[in-house]
């Protein structure tokens, strides 16, 4: 039986140098940035429609306020409102949305409905730094302290120190932060009179000039102390428990035993071998937690009357001040996304096994 053997055409893939577009789309950072922009667009769209679905509207709220504050009749209040508000809330939503997007693309976040002539950008510029400062500082303190205490718990596993710290960690991480804030406020303030809550209000004392002076710095810390304390207290438990379990797992790794066999000093093993490897997964969580702390700041700033972006958001929500709400939601979204991006890029620096931006296609 004759077998026909036909030559099989084999086309060798040509060595193609990736063009600019291919190199770009394979680039990790580029892809991440595109994804981030897409996320921002989606969030902007969803918030735009969601806040307009809230019951009532800015004019109605203003009218109700006038009536209850000054005893105006409905008609008087309405006339006042139409004089003040040069906005047309009855315009089709789609048209409003496109207008908003167009302005946004030009960097225009619009003006506040309620404080005439106040740019939303100015509100953010004025109040965001305080929130960034208090939230950032507490996140740093809580992360570093949590890692340290978590390692201590793992090294002293099954000892009274471990039991005490584990109980503390589970307790503080299960109580909502606003509850802790109110309890602290009431107990340390009026009850024990340890802190003077009246003078701690705001983000700086009246009359203190901003500048690089010790006085200014201490005053800022004084006002931020309570919010920072509460943020740290409510987030540290999670870090401690995560670090504890991660450390326990790392202690079982072969390379730690081998490091001991190599006669390395305990301090070196603890930092470069156990600590460094055990803390890796926590860096991913760090990025996620930034979003949570921003969300939490809304309530905490309200409770301690801290002049941050969270308090402005509450005010804007109560007044249905759409542009301000949109602006603040946008800035929170951007912060969380940027933090995530930075954390991811940082992670690749910390863990050599993760290689980014090397043109790998996966």
């Amino acid at each position: 039986m004759a077998v026909q053997t036909a030559p099989i055409a084999v086309s060798l893939p040509e060595e193609v140098r990736p063009n600019l577009w291919q190199r770009l789309t394979r680039n990790y950072v580029f892809r991440r940035v595109i994804k981030a922009l897409a996320t921002i667009f989606v969030v902007v769209t969803v918030t735009f429609f969601l806040i307009r679905l809230m019951p009532s509207n800015p004019v109605e709220i203003f009218i109700q306020e006038q009536i209850s504050l000054y005893g105006m009749s409905y008609q008087e209040a309405r006339d006042q409102a139409s004089a003040l508000f040069a906005i047309d809330l009855d315009a089709p939503l789609g048209q409003q949305y496109l207008e908003y997007l167009g302005n946004l693309l030009q960097g225009d976040l619009g003006q506040s409905y309620r404080s005439k002539g106040t740019q939303v950008v100015d509100i953010i510029r004025q109040f965001l730094p305080w929130t960034l400062f208090s939230v950032g500082t507490s996140l740093l303190i809580s992360f570093v302290l949590g890692i340290g205490l978590g390692m201590l718990m793992a090294y002293r596993r099954e000892t009274p120190i471990d039991y005490a710290l584990s109980t503390f960690a589970s307790l503080v991480s299960s109580v909502p932060n606003y509850l802790i804030a109110i309890i602290l406020l009431v107990v340390l303030g009026p009850q024990l009179k340890i802190i003077n809550i009246a003078s701690m209000r705001g983000s700086i004392s009246p009359g203190v000039q901003p500048g690089f002076t010790l006085h200014f710095f201490l005053d800022v810390l004084y006002h931020a102390a309570m919010p920072i304390f509460v943020y740290v207290l409510t987030t540290i438990g999670g870090w401690m428990l995560a670090m504890k379990s991660s450390t326990i797992a790392t202690l079982e790794e072969d390379y730690v035993t081998v490091a001991r066999a190599r006669g390395l000093k305990d301090g070196r093993i603890m930092t470069s071998y156990v600590g460094r490897n055990a803390s890796l997964p926590l860096f991913t969580q760090l990025a996620i937690s930034i979003g949570f702390v921003f969300g939490g700041s809304v309530l905490i700033e309200g409770i301690f009357v801290y002049q941050g972006i969270g308090q402005q958001l509450i005010k804007a929500i109560n007044q249905r001040d759409y542009p301000v709400m949109q602006g603040i939601f946008l800035i929170i979204t951007v912060s969380v996304i940027v933090a995530n991006l930075v954390a991811d890029l940082l992670y690749s620096r910390l863990d050599p096994r993760i290689r980014l931006g090397q043109g790998e296609t996966k």
């Binding site: 072969d254 390379y255 001991r260 190599r262 006669g263 390395l264 460094r276 050599p352």
Partner: protein, 328 residues
């Protein structure tokens, strides 16, 4: 006795477990001479690795050294390993006695470059001259047939399993220890890589002066590298002797069975025979001789009395009541 490097006397190691106490090492006695290679062979679960870990006192926390003595000799001085304090023990490890572990895949810190791991090992033992250490590392990596420049600047995950095993061997030699313990140095490697590791070890044995204890279940490896071989069964040494005696004239039925269970390349063709039964339970080892349930020569005496390790040849010892009937 002046060429003694390590002396282990009547060593007992136990682990508490839920079902009872695991007697992982039961009264082990042996010695290692300077420049000698001793192979500890036995099935998995026979206590070989525990024995190795006990020598550098790296046993898990739960384990207890119940009895025994480990003496280490160098330059006319002796050290009682079980009496060392934490700092003395730290210095002893790697500088005097380096243990290269089974499963080298995960034995190096994933976030540090190989160079950093050579340097921190040296620094921990008081060698602060980074350039000298680097030079020595380059030399050793060449000896284990690696490209030093590439390897030193790599992270562990960038190296293959065989390369990592060789890096570890080179790292083990960094401080010129007198004794090196290799635990299953070729397990988990493919056959060609195993071959090259054996070649590397042979070359190192010829070039450098150190004693080697290697722990393996691989008899061919023992035959190739060892001067003396000890067979471990149920946590005890059941036979010890020169590599020639052990392979040509084993006096313990277990050693005989082990040699029968691997094919030979050169020697006479004998039918391969696996050892019936399974390794003994170390929580409740059989009464009498631990091997008796699997032994073709077992008699009533074997079920009642544990045989002592007795001299059966010029330099050969075996623990069997019937050693005269094995290879008569």
């Amino acid at each position: 006795m002046s060429d003694l490097a390590l002396l282990v006397e009547d060593l007992w190691v136990e682990y508490p477990a839920r079902r009872g106490v695991v007697k992982a090492v039961r009264g082990v006695t042996f010695e290692v001479h300077r420049g000698e290679t001793l192979a500890l062979i036995g099935e998995s679960g026979s206590g070989k690795t525990t024995l190795g870990l006990a020598l550098v006192r790296l046993l898990p926390k739960a384990a207890r050294i119940k009895r025994g003595r480990i003496m280490y000799y160098r330059n006319g001085t002796s050290q009682d390993i079980l009496a060392l304090n934490a700092e003395e023990l730290r210095r002893f490890r790697w500088q005097e006695c380096a243990m290269v572990f089974q499963g080298a895949q995960n034995a190096l810190n994933p976030v540090l470059r190989i160079e950093a791991q050579f340097l921190d090992t040296a620094r921990a033992h008081g060698l602060s001259d980074a350039n000298a250490v680097r030079e020595r590392a380059v030399e050793l990596l060449k000896m284990v047939q690696l490209d030093p420049q590439r390897v030193l600047h790599s992270f562990p995950h960038e190296l293959s399993g065989g390369m990592r095993q060789r890096v570890l061997i080179a790292l083990g030699l960094l401080l010129q220890p007198q004794v090196i313990i290799l635990d299953e140095p070729t397990t988990a490697l493919d056959i060609l890589t195993q071959r090259s590791i054996i070649e590397v070890l042979r070359r190192l044995r010829a070039q450098l002066d150190f004693s080697l204890i290697f722990i393996s279940h691989d008899l061919s490896l023992a035959a190739e590298l060892a001067d003396r071989v000890a067979t471990v069964y149920a946590g005890a040494i059941v036979e010890i002797g020169s590599v020639y005696d052990i392979f040509e004239r084993p006096r313990h039925p277990y050693t005989l069975a082990l040699t029968r269970s691997v094919p030979t390349v050169t020697g006479d063709m004998h039918p391969l025979a696996s050892i019936p039964g399974s390794p003994p339970d170390l929580i409740a080892p059989p009464l009498g001789c631990a091997f008796h349930p699997r032994c073709p020569l077992a008699t009533d005496q074997c079920k009642r009395e544990e045989p002592p390790l007795e001299r059966v040849g010029k330099e050969q010892m075996a623990a069997c009541w019937h050693w005269r009937e094995v290879n008569p």
